[in-house]
Symmetry: C2
Subunit: 484 residues, 2 copies
C-alpha cells in the first residue's frame, strides 16, 4: 500500500476521473438514439451484483483493470490486437434503459438493494480513463491490450463486453495474419459470413480479418459498414439451377461480362473448363472449391494459358487454412487468390483466446494498493503496467519488457497509449487501413522463427524486477491480513 | 426431370408461393421499424450477384434448398437443432434500405445490371414456404433442419444468414446437451458471455444452451430477452478490491444476505473457507474456480457439514467441459452445480458444424427437376426430403429414414413440419421451455451408446431407394448434357 506518486500524472498527462468519490454521471442522455445504444445488461450478472454491493456498502474506489491473454494457444507465436474501435464505441455509448433497470429491480437477488443503485444505473455512463495498444499491434501474453481506470462500479460493469470484443477480433486478426503469411503475398478473402457465431458476428470478424492482412471479404454489409473491398460471384447452386452447365456459364457471362469468376467443381472440373474454353468467352477468373486443388489448378493454368488466357485468375476455396495453403503452394498449385471461410470465422486450431480482465490497483480514501490474484497457476501481476518493445537497428523486435507505469523507461517503444479520458476519446483510433499496415510492419519485424506458420517460437517477454517485488509484497500482505 | 405430381400438394397442405413467375413482394413496408430490421446485405456477395444474374437473364424459377450437416464433428454422436426462431424472425423481416440498395448500385460489379434489380431489392421481402424440425429435436447428418421453397432469388439471398443462425445455435445446444449429460442432473449454468464472438453473439448462445439443458445463464440481457433464469454473485475482483478477504466476504453478505455465493479461490481456498466459518455468517453458496476442485470440494463439503451448513451449495467453474465434469464426478467431487463458459461459447472439440444449404429442386416453366452436387466426397442427394424417425415400443429411437417427400410413409414419425407459408408463419414455433423438454425427451430416447460423452456411436440413418435412384438419374443427366 502506498500513496500515489504525483510526478506520474505529469509523465502521462491523462487526468484521473474526478468523479470517483461520487460516481454519478451527467443526467443528460439523448433519448432519440437510446434504442441504438448498447445495453448495460449485456454483461454477466455478477458484474451487476458486485456493482450493487459496492454502492450498498459505500465502497467508493477508483479501480484499474488490465485486459490481456494469460498465455498463447498452441500453434500461435503472437497475437494481433484488434477490436479497440468497437470497445471504445461501447464505452462511449453504453446505457441502461428504463425497461432494463426495471428488469433488475424486479429480480429477487436485488430485493434488499437500496433505490440509489437503480437510479444510478438509469443515469449510468462510463467516465473512466483508458490506455490501449493500437489495433494491428503485435502483442504477447501478459501484455495489456487495454487498461481501464474508472470508478470500480463502472470498470466492473464493462468487463464482459470488453473481453468478448477484444478477444474475438484479436483471435480473428491473429488467424488472418497466419493465413496471409502462408499465402505468400497472394490475396486472401474472408469467406466466413456463414460460419459466424450468428451472422451478425461476421461483421467484426471481416474487419479483424482485414486488419490481419486479408484483401477483403465476401460479407456485403461488412463491406458497407467498414469500407472493405467485397468479393464474390457464383456458387454451385447457380450451376445446379441451370439445365446444362454450359448454359449456366454463358448466362453468368451475359449478366457480368467484365467480372465473373466461374465455379468449376460442381460436377467435374475438367469437363467444366473444357466447356468454357469451347464457348470461347473469357471469364475474369475461375474457382476451385474441392478435389485435388493443387493438381487441378496446374492443369487449369496450362489449359487457360494454351488458350491465350494468361490473365484469367485462378481462385481456390473450400476448407482452406494456413496449413492447407502452405501445402498447396509447396505442391506448386497455380493459385492467384484464396477464399477462407471456416478457418477464419472459427479457427479450429485455436477457437478461443481466454483473455482476462484483472484488477491491478485500487485507490480508495486517498490510499493506493496493488491487487493480484494469487492462486497457483493463475497468479497475475499487480500494478499499472506499460510495455516497452526493444528493437534492433534494422527494426527487428528483440524483446518486450513489461514494467510498472511508474518505472523510468530504459529505451524501447511504449505500446500502450491513452485513448480515452473521463469517458471521452482523446485520440482518433485510426483507420482499418492504418491498423492493417501496422500489423504488416509488425509481422515484418518479428523474428523470423516467430513468423512461421508451422514452427513454435517463443518471443522474449520480460517482467521488470519492480513488478516481481510488488507481487511478492502483495502475497505477503494477503498472508498477514489472513492471520490478523 | 418430371412434372409435379398433383397429389403431393394435398398430402402436405402448404401452398406453394404464387409469386414465383413475378417475384415482386408487396410494396408496403413500415418505415418506423426499418432500423430494427435485419439487413439483406448481411450475406455473401455471391448471393446478390447470382440474384442479379437470375433477374438479368430472366431466369424465373422456384427453388428448394435444404440446410443440413454434411457429417458430425469428431466426438459428436448427435446434434440438437436450435435457432429456428431467429431464422424465422429473419425471414419475416429482412429488408434492404435505400442506403443499402444504393451501395450495391454504386459497386462496379453491378454496373451492367438493369435498374429493375435494384427496385426489386428496395421492395424485397421473403415470400417462400419453409419446413423445419422443431427446436430441441435430435438430428443427424444428412437430415434437413430446414427446407426453403421460394423464388430462387429470395432463397439465395437468405442462405448466409440461415446457415450462420442455425449452425451456431445447433452447435451450442449440442454441446450443452453433452455438458448437462456429464453433470448427471446437477445444474449447469452458461457462463459464456465473455467468450462470445463479440458480446452480442452470447445472446443466442445462452438461449441455445438452455435448449440443450442448461438451467440458466450469467448473461443478464439474454435473461431479459428470452426469459431465462440468471445466475451470478461475485468475482475475484470483489475479493481483491478489499483490504482483507474476510472484509470482502462480510460486505457481500451485508449487501446480499439471502443470496450470496462466495468465491473461495482468490488467494487460498482453505484459508478463505476458514475465515467464512470463523465469521459464522452463512452464505447461500461457495464457488471454486481453480485448483484441485475435486479434492477441495470434498474438504469444503466436510467443513460446511461440520458447521451444520448442509444447505450451503458448492458451485464449480473454471475451464469446465463435459470431459472435466465427468472426471470431477468420477473423483467424487462434492459439487452441486457447474458454471461453464468457454466450452459452451466456443466448443474447442467441435468449434464449427459446417452445415450446408443445398439446392435440391428447381421448378421452371412448369417443369421440375432435381439438383445435386456431384463432386467426389461432396455429393448431395437431390429432391425434397422428409425424415421419418422409427422408435421401439418403449420410445427408444431405432433408426431414421430420409425419403423423398412424395414417397408413401412406412411408419415412423415425420420430423419436418411446415413453419412458414408464403413468407408468413403458419405455426407458433414454441417456447424455449418446450424446446428444452423436446431435447430432454430426445436424449432420453437415444440409444444409450449415442448418449455417452466419451464414446463414439453411429445412429443408423438410411436413405430411401428412391433417393439413391434419383441421385443416379441426376448424374446421368449431367453426363449426357455435357456431351451434347
Amino acid at each position: 500500500m502506498r500513496t500515489r506518486n504525483p510526478p506520474l500524472a505529469r509523465e502521462h498527462p491523462i487526468r484521473m476521473t474526478s468523479s470517483r468519490a461520487n460516481p454519478q454521471p451527467a443526467a443528460v442522455r439523448p433519448s432519440a438514439t437510446e434504442a441504438a445504444r448498447p445495453s448495460g445488461l449485456l454483461t454477466d450478472l455478477y458484474e451487476l451484483t458486485m456493482a450493487a454491493g459496492y454502492m450498498q456498502t459505500h465502497f467508493d474506489a477508483l479501480a484499474t483493470f488490465e485486459l490481456f491473454a494469460r498465455h498463447l494457444p498452441a500453434r500461435r507465436n503472437y497475437l494481433v490486437a484488434a477490436g479497440l474501435e468497437q470497445a471504445l464505441e461501447f464505452l462511449e455509448s453504453v446505457r441502461f434503459t428504463k425497461k432494463e433497470v426495471d428488469f433488475l429491480r424486479a429480480n429477487r437477488i436485488f430485493q434488499k438493494i437500496r433505490p440509489e443503485f437503480f437510479s444510478y444505473l438509469s443515469k449510468f455512463h462510463f467516465t473512466g480513463d483508458v490506455w490501449a495498444v493500437p489495433e494491428g499491434t503485435i502483442v504477447f501474453p501478459g501484455e495489456p491490450l487495454l487498461r481501464v481506470s474508472a470508478p470500480i462500479v463502472e470498470a466492473q460493469i464493462v468487463e464482459t463486453y470488453l473481453l468478448a470484443t477484444l478477444s474475438y477480433q484479436t483471435m480473428i486478426a491473429s488467424k488472418a495474419a497466419r493465413v496471409c503469411t502462408a499465402a505468400q503475398g497472394r490475396a486472401v478473402v474472408d469467406f466466413g459470413a456463414r460460419r459466424g457465431h450468428g451472422a451478425e458476428a461476421s461483421l467484426p470478424a471481416a474487419r479483424a480479418a482485414v486488419i490481419g492482412g486479408c484483401a477483403g471479404t465476401s460479407n456485403v454489409l461488412a463491406g458497407m459498414e467498414f469500407g472493405l473491398p467485397i468479393y464474390g460471384t457464383q456458387a454451385h447452386s447457380w450451376v445446379m439451377a441451370h439445365d446444362r452447365e454450359s448454359e449456366a456459364f454463358a448466362s453468368f457471362l451475359d449478366a457480368f461480362p467484365d467480372n465473373s469468376t466461374l465455379l468449376l467443381d460442381t460436377y467435374d472440373v475438367r469437363q467444366a473448363l473444357t466447356q468454357i474454353l469451347a464457348m470461347g468467352r473469357k471469364p475474369s477468373g475461375v474457382r476451385l472449391d474441392s478435389g485435388d486443388v493443387a493438381k487441378d489448378s496446374r492443369w487449369v493454368r496450362r489449359e487457360l494459358d494454351r488458350a491465350g488466357w494468361q490473365d484469367v485468375k485462378i481462385f481456390a476455396s473450400g476448407d482452406l487454412d494456413e496449413y492447407r495453403i502452405r501445402e498447396l503452394l509447396s505442391r506448386h498449385a497455380a493459385i492467384d487468390a484464396f477464399g477462407v471461410g471456416t478457418a477464419l470465422a472459427t479457427p479450429g486450431d485455436a477457437p478461443h483466446l481466454n483473455m482476462i480482465y484483472k484488477l491491478v490497483e485500487v485507490e480508495r480514501d486517498g490510499r493506493i494498493w496493488e491487487a493480484a490474484k494469487l492462486t497457483r497457476a493463475k497468479a497475475t501481476y499487480p500494478g499499472r503496467k506499460q510495455v516497452f518493445r526493444h528493437s534492433k537497428s534494422d527494426g527487428e523486435f528483440r524483446f518486450d519488457r513489461i514494467v510498472l507505469e511508474s518505472e523510468p523507461a530504459q529505451g524501447g517503444k511504449p505500446l500502450l497509449v491513452p485513448v480515452m479520458c473521463g469517458g471521452k476519446r482523446v485520440a482518433n483510433s485510426g483507420t482499418i487501413a492504418e491498423a492493417r499496415e501496422r500489423c504488416a510492419a509488425g509481422l515484418a519485424h518479428l523474428p523470423k522463427a516467430c513468423r512461421q506458420v508451422s514452427q513454435s517460437a517463443v518471443y522474449p517477454v520480460r517482467y521488470s524486477k519492480a513488478l516481481k517485488t510488488m507481487l511478492a509484497d502483495v502475497r505477503e500482505r494477503v498472508r498477514r491480513s489472513a492471520l490478523k
